[in-house]
């Protein structure tokens, strides 16, 4: 009898849920639907300070919140453009050395616990804890600590009054739950259960991760900022590019993150799938090691001379190579920055493509052509190895084109194709002549201090080519300490010009990725640093929903 009652109740509830779902669909509510994303690589650590792969960052950005969210213009000076997130509002101290963040009292962790100021204090301490070994440690160097004024007010303290202080705490730091993490040693967090089953405050909550297979997020219906419009986002790991594309074409997936030019050509005339170009803050270059790999204290026998580097830059037809590799989908690099960066300047003076001038320059430096047409000086051939990760088809093609173009100038290039771990090992050890590399920067020019500044040139730093110029360092520092956005940009552009003139690299292309997406998915604006930033606002109109969209969130599993 009791069992029958239970069954009847369950049936009524299911009927009610179905009715509600039907009403929702009939009323044209934007809420509902499932987005399936086919992605080639799996996530790594689902903990924001340790997330390294793009998928981990995508997931962490949905599950965790920042105190404030950067605007779509990616303005990093002061708090202009930032909108409230976990902090409803904030007050600057008179000396700008601290900011009091007032936590939204409605904010809850996905386990139901309220968000408290002590979570902010704990998070800041964790990001700065050397035992955690977070890659974000340099980005939060100016943050001193956080204190608790009351349960809903956290005060973040800075070492120095700097224009990007707000950006440092709001953009770089995602707030973590103290009550779930305080008992885990920081050095154990990478392998902790939490890093596989995160609990955050975002509009999506973590649901499930089958390593190497799929990862699922579901809408947090009780979220303080309102639920995500989509019911769920499912990432399916499809290591083969053709399989991912076939999944999209057959309707098994809704979004495929990386397409090749020939795949894009197949989309013409397809009413169900369209191209999905999205910006990024990545730029690719051929970097020259400025130090002798065998004796790092000495300059590189070829690339130690800036004039040789400039000659090589002039010998390369960057636009021709771009057209060859990307057809019409490429974007030429205007300098040592991606064009989406706020401080990017498309009028920077780069060494022009001029093979006659390049040849004359090399001749004048004593690198003369021999009987075989190849150049040498004092018996040493003008030859070097270009290291390339074989996993990147684009970079391998670029390497072949570079090899061919430099051969015509009398320079021998050996292509050193290698697996990525080997490539990284050589980069870390500074054991290379030249390499084809790609950097991903964040919205602030601050990242350049690590990648191109003298501070990162030491072994163990990120400046693998070992470039060091005090003028560049000073201009970059001026850019980062200027409170006037126009002046900051002007300093940054001057710094980029110095870098371009010194030619520690040939700036090849901006990484503009084109994916493909089902036409039933209605996207929100795509932000240059993270296309997924407004994923919670994406919708699937009720009339275009399919079976997997209609499950709803309350559906019981059999």
């Amino acid at each position: 009898m009791r069992f029958s009652l239970l069954l009847a109740s369950a049936a009524s509830l299911l009927t009610l849920a179905a009715c509600s779902e039907t009403r929702q669909a009939a009323s044209g509510s934007p809420d509902g639907g499932t987005l399936v994303i086919a992605t080639p690589t799996d996530a790594d650590v689902l903990l924001p300070p340790l997330a390294a792969t793009q998928l981990s960052r995508e997931v962490c950005d949905q599950v965790f919140d920042h105190l404030a969210e950067i605007g779509d213009s990616l303005q990093t000076i002061g708090d202009a453009g930032f909108t409230p997130r976990l902090a409803q509002r904030w007050d600057w101290a008179r000396d700008s050395l601290s900011i009091a963040f007032h936590i939204d009292p409605k904010a809850r962790w996905h386990d139901g616990q309220p968000v408290r100021a002590s979570d902010v204090r704990f998070t800041v301490a964790l990001y700065k804890n050397p035992k955690l070994a977070s890659p974000f440690t340099p980005q939060v160097a100016n943050i001193d600590s956080a204190s608790v004024r009351d349960s809903l007010t956290a005060v973040v303290w800075f070492h120095q009054r700097r224009p990007e202080a707000f950006y440092d705490i709001a953009y770089q730091v995602a707030i973590l739950p103290e009550h779930l993490l305080r008992d885990i040693a920081p050095e154990k967090l990478m392998t902790s259960q939490f890093a596989r089953h995160p609990v955050g405050t975002g509009r999506f909550r973590f649901a499930r991760w089958d390593a190497g297979s799929r990862l699922e997020l579901v809408a947090d219906t009780a979220n303080y900022r309102g639920r995500a419009h989509l019911d769920r986002v499912v990432y399916t790991i499809t290591p083969d590019n053709n399989t991912g594309f076939t999944q999209l074409l057959s309707g098994q997936a809704d979004l495929f993150e990386i397409t090749t030019p020939d795949q894009l050509a197949q989309l013409k005339g397809n009413a169900k799938v369209r191209a999905f170009p999205y910006p990024s803050l990545q730029y690719a270059f051929m970097g020259f090691n400025l130090h002798d790999p065998k004796q790092p204290a000495r300059p590189h026998p070829i690339f130690g001379d800036a004039r040789v580097r400039r000659a090589i830059s002039m010998a390369l037809d960057r636009r021709g190579m771009l057209r060859n590799v990307f057809d019409t989908l490429g974007a030429i690099a205007y300098g040592p920055f991606p064009r989406s960066l706020g401080s990017a300047d498309t009028t920077l003076r780069l060494p022009p493509f001029d093979t006659t001038h390049a040849a004359a320059l090399l001749d004048s430096l004593g690198w003369k052509r021999g009987a075989d047409g190849m150049r040498a000086r004092d018996g040493h051939p003008l030859a070097f190895t270009l290291q390339v990760p074989t996993s990147s088809r684009v970079r391998m093609t670029y390497a072949t084109l570079i090899q061919d173009q430099l051969r015509r100038l009398g320079i021998t290039v050996d292509i050193g194709g290698m697996q990525f771990p080997e490539f990284m090992a050589h980069q870390d050890a500074r054991d290379f002549d030249a390499s084809l590399n790609a950097y991903s920067t964040d919205p602030s020019p601050g990242g350049y201090t690590q990648n191109w500044g003298s501070g990162g040139a030491h072994k163990g730093g990120s400046n693998s080519v070992g470039y060091s110029n005090p003028v560049f360092d000073a201009l970059l520092d001026s850019a980062l300490t200027s409170f006037d956005p126009a002046r900051a940009r002007a300093y940054a552009v001057r710094a980029y010009q110095v870098l371009a003139d010194d030619a520690p690299a040939v700036w090849l292309y901006d990484v503009l990725t084109v994916g493909a997406i089902s036409t039933r998915i209605h996207t929100a604006p795509l932000r240059a640093d993270e296309w997924w930033a407004h994923l919670a606002d994406w919708t699937i109109p009720p009339a275009e929903r399919i079976d997997r969209d209609r499950i709803g969130l309350g559906a019981a599993k059999p």
Binding site: V36, T137, R196, D210, D240, T243, T246, Q247, F420, P421
Partner: protein, 321 residues
């Protein structure tokens, strides 16, 4: 028999240790380590800190002793490419590969033996020639190419089956048990069929030559002289005697049950042992590489032992020896 079995087990333990040690040295000799992955924004200093945290900065001998000691205590370590304990990664991948390879091996042996019988039974006719050529065609195809063609043909041009994955990533959990099983089988068809087509040809050719060797023997002539029809002669007398060497083939194929098929698993997004091991090597995921090798070696050893035992059970002459 028991003493012989024990001796073989002792040899197996030595083989396992030698293989494990060799792979340990080889994978550590390869440039890079588990923290050399593609993330240019992570500085070498941070990578060095992570290495130190997991003991990868220690001398190789110390790492070796620590690994052996942990492994003997049942701790296979932490997988840096799967981001979970190696034990969990294996527990997830093993059943998937067992299912795929089990079905594919059963189908390919059944198909291979049956086609060999057809070829022998209809020797000299168009049927035999067609069987031979079709088998040769599939035998000569690269596995990744056939997998891609199968995927495009039956998941896109003629959308009968799903384009990869083990189950429907969204709806599977909400299906009744019957529909969930059907869903699993639908996802299994293309990868299993691809592997079957690729390996059935090899079995066919092997089995055919065995059948042809047995066919002229006296006992076959006697069977025919007794008035048995050709079908019965082939099935009862020729095939039973010609099946013995196939046991060897089965023993050799046994490791493939867990070794998986790398390209087929990759194309069909079937995260089994083959793909797991290949990804682990690419990512220099030392603990997972070593665990995969241990599993693979165990299967080789077990496969050979099983083949030996089966041989003796199947062939009375060997039992008498």
């Amino acid at each position: 028999m028991a003493r012989r079995l024990l001796a073989r087990l002792g040899q197996a333990a030595v083989v396992l240790w030698v293989v494990l040690s060799a792979v340990f040295l080889l994978i550590h000799a390869a440039p890079g380590d588990p923290f050399s992955f593609d993330a240019p924004n992570i500085s070498p200093a941070i990578r060095a800190q992570w290495r130190a945290a997991f003991g990868y900065d220690r001398p190789l001998g110390e790492q070796y002793v620590r690994y052996l000691s942990s492994a003997l205590h049942g701790d296979l370590g932490y997988s840096h490419s799967m981001h979970e304990p190696v034990r969990d990664a294996l527990a997830a991948a093993l059943p998937r590969t067992l299912l795929l390879m089990g079905v594919a091996l059963a189908l390919s042996f059944a198909l291979g033996v049956w086609l060999a019988l057809v070829e022998v039974r209809y020797a000299g006719t168009w049927r035999a020639r067609l069987t031979h050529r079709v088998a040769l065609f599939f035998y000569s195809l690269p596995d990744f190419w056939l997998a891609l063609v199968m995927l495009m043909a039956f998941a896109y041009w003629l959308p009968l089956f799903p384009a990869g994955g083990i189950v429907d990533p969204v709806l599977h959990d909400y299906m009744s048990p019957g529909r969930a099983l059907l869903d699993l089988l639908r996802h299994l068809v293309l990868p299993a069929l691809t592997l079957t087509l690729l390996s059935a040809a090899a079995i066919l050719r092997y089995q055919r030559s065995e059948l042809l060797e047995v066919l002229p023997m006296d006992f076959v002539r006697t069977a025919r002289a007794k008035g048995l029809d050709e079908h019965t002669v082939l099935r009862r007398h020729v095939l039973r005697n010609a099946l013995l060497p196939v046991i060897t083939l089965l023993g050799l194929a046994f490791p493939a049950l867990l070794g998986g098929a790398l390209f087929v698993e990759k194309v069909f997004a079937w995260p089994g042992m083959g793909y797991l091991a290949a990804s682990a090597i690419d990512a220099r995921d030392y603990p997972l590489v070593l665990a995969s090798v241990v599993v693979g070696s165990c299967m080789v050893i077990i496969g050979n032992l099983a083949a030996d035992v089966l041989y003796r059970l199947a062939d009375p002459r060997l039992r008498r020896q």
